[in-house]
Amino acid sequence: MDTLAQIELEPWAEYLVCFLLVVGGLFGIVGSFGLIKLTDTLQRLHAPTKATTLGVGGVLLASISYFWLAEHVITFHELLITLFLFLTAPITANFIAKTYMARNMPPSDVPQTEGDYGWSIYDDPPPPPRHSSHGATPSRD
């Protein structure tokens, strides 16, 4: 506690950090509120994948600027958190969407593909091209 209390920030720096924290908090709340308000699972996916990114981002920016302005150190942890978040959030969303569709949605509920094969949760991928042929890259999910 003592070390924290000793550090004095310039007023403008304090406003900046507060602003970033408040923005982050607001987006966090909106993202969570979206979970209540939106009606089906696929709609609900949108709230945490987007609104929350800026929520976390705001807090991380506040942390970066606080440590930079108060202690004059640049920390990389926040950047790494951002990186990991950007790697994991889309993959989680994709898994949830796929699981939901596979369990609860018949293929007739989604539009047709524009190719010869259906969506990968309902259809098998094409056989790997053995002899040189047309054939697109086999799907890798």
């Binding site: 990114t53 959030a89 889309p90 796929k98």
Partner: protein, 162 residues
């Protein structure tokens, strides 16, 4: 020889940076440990990555990252506004099928991630032959516009990068 030792040079470089970031202090010892990890991890995991991903134009990749970061901010605000100010029955969710021109797994992965993080859309599933991607749109009255937007803004750039 060099190819055998560094099956994924970009991954090696990345690991050194991530390691330096994790310990949060750049000293020769840390960099050495990071370099050892950067050599060992790609060597051990190389059977899982048979093809080496190539970045043809790293400069374009940087621009792409900046564009996506900006779009994430915009998308955040848009989705927040939809959540806060639209009534439940006014939210028109739609499926959009985006045909893909890119064929290799890396750009498709990046594109799917970008679609999820940005403009009010979540990428749901690929077709079995990876020729189109199914996108769920939180609110749109113009599905074709969304599709063209994704193709123009993101896929065109990814095609140049990879």
């Amino acid at each position: 020889m060099i190819k055998r030792l560094f099956p994924h040079p970009l991954l090696s470089l990345m690991l050194v940076f991530v390691w330096a970031g994790l310990v949060n202090k750049v000293t020769p010892g840390n960099l050495l440990l990071g370099a050892i990890l950067g050599v060992l991890v790609p060597l051990i995991s190389s059977p899982f990555w048979p093809n080496r991903a190539k970045l043809r134009r790293p400069g374009m990749a940087m621009i792409y990252v900046l564009i996506v970061l900006w779009d994430i901010v915009v998308a955040n605000v848009q989705v927040a506004l939809i959540i806060l100010f639209k009534r439940r029955e006014d939210i028109h969710s739609k499926w959009v099928c985006v045909p893909l021109d890119v064929t290799s797994p890396e750009p498709i992965t990046v594109l799917a991630g970008t679609i999820t993080m940005t403009p009010g859309t979540v990428s749901a599933v690929l077709s079995a032959d990876a020729s189109c991607i199914l996108v769920h749109c939180l609110h749109t009255d113009d599905p074709d516009g969304v599709r063209d937007d994704i193709k123009q803004r993101y896929e065109r750039r990814l095609k140049e990068i990879f």
